[in-house]
């Protein structure tokens, strides 16, 4: 069952097109990674899902209702990002009490245990926390609220690697204990690959891929072999990246457009290797002809 359904969604800020005719459907009870480069339109899309922004054209339904300024969407959704803020007069303990008052599925005991594990003092104020602690507290706040739609926009920003690893596990454990839909954006795709079920890739305001993780990773493959053997092959398929060193070519190509078996490739001395989801994202969103080395030449 879809909990989010978008049709031809567009949003502009002045002359800048943040989203262009986005159509997508998000299933219930899945952990989905919303991936894209900086300024790709991820946060705009999440803000529309949360009911904070109104699309200019197209439609967006969350829980079968228009989310914009909708109290039912708000009651079943939590949006966690680094801009989450609370009154200066509240200690973290008070914030947890307030959360318990507003969210019916709130898990106060779990919040206490997680914050104790992270070494966060509950008498502190939200504004007094370090960047990493702030991110940890915000993530805990989002997890223990147990909302049907939990949106985490760069939730691990500022956390050290150890705590990031722990909290990826925490997200997974919470998901297993209380299945709901998680939408997570992160620049650490490699780290969170293990918990994702689907990836929705956005580039320049458009959805360019939305597939289960394994399917997504299989979109592109890496070929490595003699340049003369690969030349013909590369001319017939879409090449995302190519490097030639001493007569040996390494290329990343679209797997669906490569009509040749792995056996034949091997006989030609061409090695085929899979890419990680992070690499696939990078190649799919790479601008053609863009090369950092060219700037310094």
């Amino acid at each position: 069952m879809n909990i989010i359904q978008c049709e031809e969604l567009s949003k502009s800020f002045g002359r800048r097109h943040a989203l262009q005719r986005v159509t997508c459907a998000i299933d219930a009870e899945k952990i989905i990674g919303i991936i894209g480069r900086n300024g790709a339109g991820k946060s705009t899309l999440l803000n529309i899902f949360a009911g904070y922004l109104k699309p200019m054209t197209g439609s967006c339904k969350v829980f079968n209702e228009n989310p914009f300024n909708n109290i039912q969407t708000a009651a079943n959704m939590i949006f966690i990002d680094d801009r989450l803020s609370f009154s200066d007069y509240l200690s973290l303990e008070d914030i947890l009490k307030m959360g318990a008052d507003f969210y019916p599925n709130w898990q106060n005991e779990l919040a206490y245990r997680m914050l104790d594990y992270a070494g966060i003092d509950l008498t502190a104020k939200h504004q007094q926390l370090s960047k990493g602690q702030l991110a940890t507290f915000n993530l805990v706040y989002g997890l223990v609220s147990r909302c049907s739609l939990t949106i985490l926009d760069e939730p691990m920003n500022g956390m050290d690697e150890a705590i990031r690893t722990d909290f990826y596990r925490a997200i997974l454990k919470e998901y297993l204990a209380f299945p709901r839909t998680f939408l997570i954006t992160s620049h650490h795709l490699q780290e969170m690959e293990s918990i994702l079920e689907e990836i929705l890739l956005i580039d320049e305001g458009s959805v360019i891929a939305h597939a289960p993780l394994d399917e997504f990773k299989e979109q592109l493959i890496s070929l490595h072999g003699p340049s003369d053997e690969l030349a013909d092959l590369l001319s017939e398929t879409e090449v995302y990246a190519q490097k030639i060193v001493a007569g040996v070519t390494s290329a990343v190509v679209d797997a669906s457009k490569l009509f040749i078996s792995e056996e034949i490739l091997r006989t030609k001395g061409i090695k085929v290797s899979a890419l990680t989801a992070s690499e696939v994202c990078m190649y799919l969103t790479n601008k053609k002809g863009r090369d950092i080395d060219a700037i310094f030449d």
Binding site: A75, Y141, P179
Partner: protein, 242 residues
């Protein structure tokens, strides 16, 4: 699938009001401090004074009334209402279950509750001022009304509410859609031009002559209109978190 939570707007507004009243209590303490300062500053001459003398006789009258406290409370209500619509407050609202509608209704209700408390505070400060003068300066008093009449109480309440409502409307309009911002700027510009071009055309004399209860009703109607417009604009507003 996990069942969805069904919460009514009324329930959310109630919770928001409860937390907002608690969290913004410092606004009331600031009002108390400002009123005490003004009570001390105006203790020697009140809200107006005049005197006359003939031969050895020198008579000096000072009028002690609620006027000065009402003006302070009205300005305070306008500023507090503006603060309620400030970005920091609006972003705080997003951390709990809320919509623009629920937050705006909660702000309006908090403003009404605070206006009521502000009237009680201003009357208390007024009595304290009079008592202080009676005990310290030992002046002779000609008491017009010992107790504040309900009609004066309602008039004070409606006046403070009106300024709060204008503050909320002004603050919400500034953060609202571009069309509303343009309309507000044009309205303010033309109002200033009108006031400067024809200052005599605005005659408040007839309004002041009306009975207290009539003025109160008029103020409440305008405040209700401002509150309604505030909710309408908030419903149309997007959330800017940048």
């Amino acid at each position: 699938m996990q069942s969805l939570t069904n919460i009514s707007l009324k329930t959310i507004v109630k919770k928001q009001v409860k937390w907002k009243v608690k969290l913004n209590i410092s606004a009331l303490s600031s009002l108390v401090i400002v009123q005490i300062i003004f009570a001390v500053l105006t203790s020697s001459f009140g809200s107006g004074s005049y005197g006359s003398g003939s031969g050895n006789l020198d008579v000096h009258f000072s009028i002690y009334s609620l006027d000065i406290f009402l003006i302070i409370s009205a300005i305070w209500a306008f500023i507090v209402a503006l603060l309620f619509t400030a970005k920091a407050y609006r972003i705080d609202d997003l951390s709990v279950v809320s919509s623009r509608t629920s937050s705006t209704i909660a702000n309006i209700l908090v403003m009404i509750i605070y206006s009521f408390i502000a009237v009680i505070l201003m009357i208390s400060t007024y009595y304290l001022q009079v008592l202080g003068i009676l005990l310290v300066e030992k002046k002779s008093f000609v008491i017009d009304h010992l107790f504040i009449s309900p009609s004066v109480f309602i008039l004070c309440f409606s006046s403070i509410c009106l300024f709060g409502a204008i503050g909320l409307l002004f603050g919400t309009s500034l953060k609202g859609p571009v069309v509303i911002k343009l309309f507000l700027s044009t309205f303010i510009l033309f109002s200033f031009i009108y006031i400067f071009m024809a200052p005599n055309s605005i005659n408040l004399g007839s309004l002041i002559m009306l009975p207290n209860i009539m003025i109160s009703v008029l103020y409440m109607l305008v405040a209700t209109l401002c509150f309604s417009l505030t909710i309408w604009i908030a419903n149309k507003s997007e959330v800017s978190r940048k």
